[in-house]
Amino acid sequence: MSAPRVFVTGLGAVSAHGTDLDQLAQALARGEAQLGPLVEDADYPARRRPAGRRGVVPSADLDLRAWLPRSARRMSASSKYAVAAARLALEDAGAPEFDPDATIVACATALGPTDYTEKIAKTILEASPAQVSPFQFTDCVANAAAGQIAIDRGIRGANWTTCQREAGPVLALLRVFDQLRRGEADAGLAGTVDEAHPLVHATFDRFRALARPGADGAELARPFDARRDGFVLGAGATACWIERDGLRNGRRRAEIVAGVRGFDPSAPPHDYGADVAGLAARLRGGLERAGVSLDSIECVVSGAAGTRRGDALEAGVLRDVFGPQRPTVVAPKAVVGEFGAGILGAAVLLLGGCPIGVPVGCTEPDPRLEVTAGSWTSDTAPRRILVTALSTGGAAAWVVLDRCDD
């Protein structure tokens, strides 16, 4: 008996564009990130940033109450984003009925509920361990978001939380895909969530990982560009409702076809590695085993975020795998930021016909990379895409998604 087909039938996102997927799609088409202020904290002044700490983050004024249970008042920001995104994904899927014991949740987070963890650490350090809030502690664990989604939706199958930084979103998607293909579940929610706490921004800034403000104060992530100097921090949540055999109540947004996972042992703990040949061999071999031909891939939705080493590694792998006949490469993290899984949302929207434009900061391609942040603006969505996710610390994951012509 062949493995069942697996489809994304619902998409939800909480982002700088609120909960509005159309607004997100318009930003992707324009190639322009909507940066907003992080919640200010006098403890982490932004000395090098005249405009303050900024990222592609949900507005502090964003009202999610319509998408949250009453118990949300005790939730961390991560849990609120994730629960809201999950509800949005299910609504987008047409509010399907599901067997709670045969449904799973797989959530990824790179940074975890940083706000609550920071508060607890501060309380211990500067007040007393006895004053730590039990509610904050319960919701500061990395799997708080996944647990809260399960409680909110009554989902009783396996509940996974992956912490693998930039590779997390694709790994979470593949976790659901694998379990559905094996018949261990009928449906699942794959999500990713991250917060943008000023301490996190300050730490990345300290290590010069973030895009630097230009003379005009603008911060631009420039994937594959000669002037690239870092990523823009993203936050929020993205959730995909995924079903076996698809089409229960809503339309099919994408088919998950295959996934490949690997690792680059040359990567230091905090940065990208340089094992282009090894990663390329892993990707090529994985696609071949899955029966996916390279020339069937019409577009690469790249996880390149504008870092020097990360983009170089990504470009090297794409060159090695595809050779000179490369598909179009788009780089949506210039718009959605790093973390918060905006890349998954971008990929699914692209397959639904939403164009992705050249990022506004990408006007001087780095000739050494031989890969450019392009655009897909055709009236016809690509038939098949490859989403890439190379991570600092070494993990790598790729997923192949097909357009659904429902």
């Binding site: 014991d101 006895a130 409680i151 199958g157 996974w160 939380t161 042992p265």
Partner: protein
Amino acid sequence: MRSDVVVTGLGAVSGFGAGVLALETGLLRGETAIGDFGAFDHSRHRTHVASEVPAEIARPAVGSKRGPAWTRADRFAVRAAQEAVDAAGVAEVGAETGVFFGSSTGGLPESEEYFAAVRGHGGRPQARQVAAQSNDGPGNAVARALAVRGPVETFSSACTSASLAMVAALDALHSGEVDVAIAGGADSLCQVTYAGFNSLRSVDAQPCRPYRADRAGLSLGEGAAVLVLETAERAAARGAEVLAVFGGAAATCDASHMSAPDPEGRGAALAIERALQRAEIGADGIDFVNVHGTGTPHNDRAEWQALLRVFGDRARAIPVTATKGLLGHLLGSSGSLEAVAALLCLRRGILHPVPDVGTPIDPDLPIDLVHGDAREVAGLRAVLSTNLAFGGTNTALVFGVPA
């Protein structure tokens, strides 16, 4: 029992010291490793005991200052993984090997140091303190140390992190994604979790007493444990010694409360039933259970209900080992350490005790807890190891003796 995946190597770092031998010796002696500790200043905390890895093992090796930015948990993980791989005799680790790891704290102690420095409480913030602070640090450190090129994934689902890693590893072996899986977990003591569990009044001021009538909470611990898993075919082809069969595994979620298990044990029971089904054995095929057994009133009661649901009246008669009674709760990595403990008991035919603390088993939870002296049991065939977590996740692992 389904026997296409086998265990060929074990490694451990625990409150008993480094190595599986130290672990087994400590377990069989049944003396607790929970006591005073020096990983951090706990004078301002509500309780003052934990199970700490001996200092000479936990501290960084003498060497170049420009060595890898390893956290405490990274060091535990790599040491345990190297022991497991050496024991398995796996000469080549590479493209068809994956690392599946669990950690709930990662480099949190080092992040606490960094945070204190940032807040002006001593020292200068250093890159090494935050470079490997992510929860995926230990798993990545293992993958780097062993030059793995296959899938590497870290799960951070609180107390089921490492056991979920083992579920994922089993899946990857069954699907053919890997031929060898290095599965395990690592966690280290830190103030956030110590204060956090104390804020819930979940920590016993004394070493924990799982399933006792006067149990008052858990004890925290640290360490790492790693299992080398491979296909039976591969192990046979290279003439490897098979330590055990990894028959089946499953995970569920209570979906009821973030910090308390479902008091009816329904989710945990479902995980056990599914694991048994996947292992192709019935409940009567299980000869002993290594319980999650934290020593909190809620956990032990819920777990008992789960055992009753699955085993019926036999739940009163199946011997139970409760490793946390000796080594504390290693949080994310507890599932892997307890799996190793369970396998050591299975192989030797001797079930490790918890200390006899002079108080009775809770009469409402009438399990056959092995306590006081180790218990020799002839003809052991299979063990079930269970874990329950914050967020409601439950896991069940089934191991058996090799054919």
